[in-house]
């Protein structure tokens, strides 16, 4: 009887412990915001804990292709970055199924796809000075020209930094979305590596007759 009790208690404890640890997935490499280049192939490693996973994949955002499935550790995945991809952040999630048919997702990480070379010049469309009106919303398209003669849309590249000269007049987001707030003259400073340019912004009243 005592043996049975002890066995029962041990079983219950084990069950409680097993139940207490939730299965989790974590992308351990590459680190969040790792910079990769178009055409690269990177290896992603996923750490699984709290349960046995019978299948696992990683799901990158378009246009990065999905990869193969893994049914046992090590959970390593090869990811090919398309050559013609636009520089910016792309999210990736690991998705797995446990033995008990639970579907588990990792936290999303972002890889930062950027060209390996640097632009020889940058420009915006439209060129400044830009005349806008309060509440106007627009994107400064940033175009980089490269030594090989190619051009690249750098508007959402993390290498492109935007700073408003006066955030009471215009604000600008990390992705280049500009909002005109109040009347006045100011500028947006755009920096891509060592290339810096300033786009004058004039916020004026809507013309009314």
């Amino acid at each position: 009887m005592p043996l049975l009790s002890r066995a029962l208690i041990t079983f219950c404890f084990t069950a409680i412990l097993l139940r207490g640890e939730k299965p989790t997935l974590r992308i351990t490499s590459p680190p969040n915001w790792t910079v990769v280049h178009p055409g690269d192939t990177i290896t992603m490693t996923v750490e699984a804990s709290g349960g046995k996973f019978v299948a696992m994949v990683i799901m990158p955002a378009d246009p990065i292709p999905w990869g193969d499935m893994r049914t046992a550790p090590p959970y390593r995945f090869s990811v090919s970055i398309p050559r013609d991809i636009t520089p910016r952040l792309y999210g990736i999630v690991a998705d797995g199924v446990t033995e008990s048919q639970q579907r588990i997702y990792s936290e999303r990480i972002y890889i930062d796809v950027e060209r390996p070379d640097h632009p020889v010049s940058i420009s915006t469309e439209p060129e400044g000075p830009i005349v806008s009106h309060p509440q106007d919303l627009f994107i400064l398209d940033v175009i980089g020209k490269y030594p090989d003669g190619s051009s690249e849309d750098l508007t959402r590249s993390t290498q492109t930094k935007y700073v408003s000269g006066d955030s009471r007049i215009v604000t600008v987001t990390e992705t280049g979305v500009v909002k005109s707030i109040a009347l006045g003259n100011t500028g947006i400073t755009i920096r891509v590596g060592e290339k810096v340019m300033k786009v004058p912004i004039i916020v004026q009243e809507q013309i009314r007759e």
């Binding site: 999905w66 193969d68 499935m69 993390t158 909002k179 013309i207």
Partner: protein
């Protein structure tokens, strides 16, 4: 730090979002605003991206995950802030001096200094937008002094059906009568009919013909006569024009009072800018393969609009997801993407028009829009926006022609099925999650993570419909039933899949990567209708057996009417991830033939059979 404190800390940080309630954009763009709800100091716009980690932190709270989740989110947030703050402060902005407007190109003696008799008139072409647009916003002013002094000098005009030029002629004396005569092709082809080359009108008047008589009046710039030129509604007259980037019309000015006094001035006619508008979950780079149109030198401007750039912090959504969602604005509905002050598409149209004017030195107010999928419906929704038909377009609207490709004008059953809530056996939560994981979330509605908890329609929600006009979403019903008075002539292009596009489905879902994962593991227990349909020969059952491009039924793409169909195509590259084989509707001309047809449509008259008004 316990979870409550962490939550308070994160909430405090998120109070930077505390901006005018109900104004979506104030939320989205709110970081740089001077003061947060709790009096937080202004923070740099460079912190905007850190919202990703704030929302992930909130996701920890909503999902009840433990301190490790908080710590990670906060650490990432802090790192992001440090990264953002390492950006050096902006140098003081330069003193901005607006570019001076050239009054005209005439030498000083034409400005009315003293009397003179010239054998050649000085004729200046003026873009009347915005300075010479009348109070009603529908035409050009009649005030003689303003006609003689205001406006921007240009050398040509776009054949967009709305733009026009003011012709300013410095005459010899007040009362001098001048005869104006249009000659096509710079006078090289005097026998061709003049009408396709535009018409003349008195200033502020309506188009009259290819010849006109005007009289000089006294102004502060001396004796000046004014007239207007309305270019043709479409660029190409067929033939050589189809391959040309510009053509010209000659204007001959002859004095009826001063013998031998005459001038000829060439006016350049150019094509309007072309704007490419992507679809649901899309980005501007979706058009990268759409050659040759996206690099065709005949078109002075081919710009790609992008309405994905706003990141939407999602507090709750219908349907909900059990993982944090950062939605790009292109995942939301027509109203958001075409609403006042949030419309990046309208902004991109305006931007293209400005670039066009600068690049071509021509007047122009309208653009040609080529839209894919939901982009066509966002564009159609723009036409209800008051700013769409304001004085900058003489109140007729900013779109000359709309060409839609694969647009679900009458909805798609796939959208309906993706969101179906009951009965349980008809729902598709597993495939919905798969799409959301690849940044393609399907929403009926989204509640924003802002103080007002604004609720917006989702893009997929707005695209619901059976494809023939029944069971339409409210947004589609509105577009279908509400003429807006400014509707652009629209041509419809459809893609339809064939057997070759789906033959790989079965093997994909049984043998390969993510397909196998979903079929055998992740979605195995659900027996979802859409998963079952993902097999060779089965997918058309989603559309009741009707033809489709795997996403939108043919009938919806052509609005239950006529359109040009291209077989053997799937809707978009995203479908390839589900096992469909391309090419897609946005692939190159060599693969699809669509870009060449779009160019044909851009050359075709806007009143030709290919174009029609959809809500009439």
């Amino acid at each position: 730090m316990d979870n409550t404190r962490k939550a308070q800390e994160l909430a405090g940080r998120c109070s930077y979002l505390g901006l005018p309630v109900g104004l979506l954009f104030a939320l989205l763009m709110g970081f740089p605003f001077p003061v947060g709800a709790q009096g937080n100091p202004p923070i740099s716009s460079a912190l905007q991206m850190c919202i990703v980690y704030e929302v992930e932190g909130l996701g920890c709270a909503l999902s009840g995950q433990g301190p490790a989740c908080w710590d990670r989110a906060l650490a990432q947030y802090d790192a992001c802030v440090i990264r953002a703050q390492t950006l050096p402060p902006a140098p003081p902005p330069p003193a901005v001096t607006p570019t001076p407007r050239p009054l005209n190109r005439c030498p000083p003696q034409f400005y009315g200094e003293g009397s003179r008799i010239a054998t050649n008139f000085c004729v200046v072409l003026i873009d009347p937008v915005p300075d010479l647009v009348n109070q009603a916003g529908t035409g050009v002013v009649t005030d003689k002094e303003r006609l003689a002094t205001a406006g921007i000098s240009v050398s040509g005009v776009a054949a967009d059906g709305a733009a026009r030029l003011v012709i300013r002629i410095y005459a010899n004396f007040e009362g001098e009568r001048l005869k104006l005569l249009l000659q096509p092709d710079g006078g090289k082809n005097p026998n061709s009919l003049p009408e396709p080359d535009g018409v003349l009108a008195t200033a502020g008047g309506t188009p009259s013909g290819y010849q006109l008589q005007v009289t000089a009046v006294n102004t502060s710039k001396g004796p000046v006569a004014s007239a207007m030129y309305f270019p043709p509604k479409d660029f190409s007259r067929g033939g050589d024009d189809d391959n040309a980037g510009s053509r010209s019309v000659s204007l001959q000015v002859t004095s009826l009072d001063t013998p031998s006094s005459s001038s000829n001035v060439n006016m350049t006619i150019v094509r309007p800018p072309v704007i490419l508008v992507h679809g649901l979950w899309g980005h501007r780079e979706d058009w990268n393969n759409f050659t040759p149109l996206n690099s065709d030198a005949r078109f002075p401007i081919v710009a790609k609009a992008d309405y994905s750039s706003l990141l939407v912090p999602v507090a709750n959504s219908d349907p909900s997801y059990d993982f944090p969602i950062i939605a790009e604005s292109s995942a939301l509905g027509f109203a958001l993407n075409a609403s006042p002050n949030v419309s990046l598409v309208l902004s991109d149209i305006d931007k293209a028009a400005k670039v066009f004017r600068k690049k071509t030195n021509a007047a122009g107010v309208q653009v040609d829009v080529v839209a894919h999928s939901m982009g066509g419906l966002v564009t159609r929704t723009l036409e209800y926006h008051p700013a769409y038909a304001d004085r900058s377009s003489f109140s007729v609207g900013e779109i000359h022609k709309l060409i839609t490709i694969g647009t679900p004008h009458l909805g798609s059953p796939l959208a309906t099925k993706l969101l179906q809530a009951d009965p349980p056996e008809a729902t598709n939560p597993c495939i919905r999650k798969v799409l959301a994981q690849k940044d393609s979330p399907a929403f009926r509605t989204v509640t924003l993570d802002d103080p007002g908890g604004s609720t917006l329609n989702g893009g997929v929600g707005d695209l619901q419909g059976d494809g023939t006009g029944a069971n339409l979403s409210q947004a589609l019903t509105f577009i279908k039933n509400t003429p807006n008075g400014h509707e652009a002539p629209t041509a419809l292009i459809s893609g339809t899949m064939t057997e070759k596009n789906t033959t790989g489905l079965t093997s994909y879902w049984k043998r390969q990567g993510v397909g196998l994962f979903l079929n055998d593991y992740a979605c195995r227990g659900s027996n979802e209708p859409l998963i079952r349909a993902l097999a060779a020969g089965n997918w058309s059952s989603v559309f009741g057996g009707a033809a489709s491009d795997a996403v939108v039924p043919y009938t919806s793409q052509v609005n239950s009417g006529l359109g040009r169909s291209f077989p053997g195509l799937i809707h978009s590259a995203g479908m390839k991830k589900l096992g469909f084989a391309g090419p897609t509707e946005l692939d190159s001309d060599a693969q699809t033939g669509i870009p060449s047809y779009v160019i044909q449509l851009l050359n075709a008259p806007s009143n030709s059979d290919a174009f029609r008004l959809l809500s009439h």
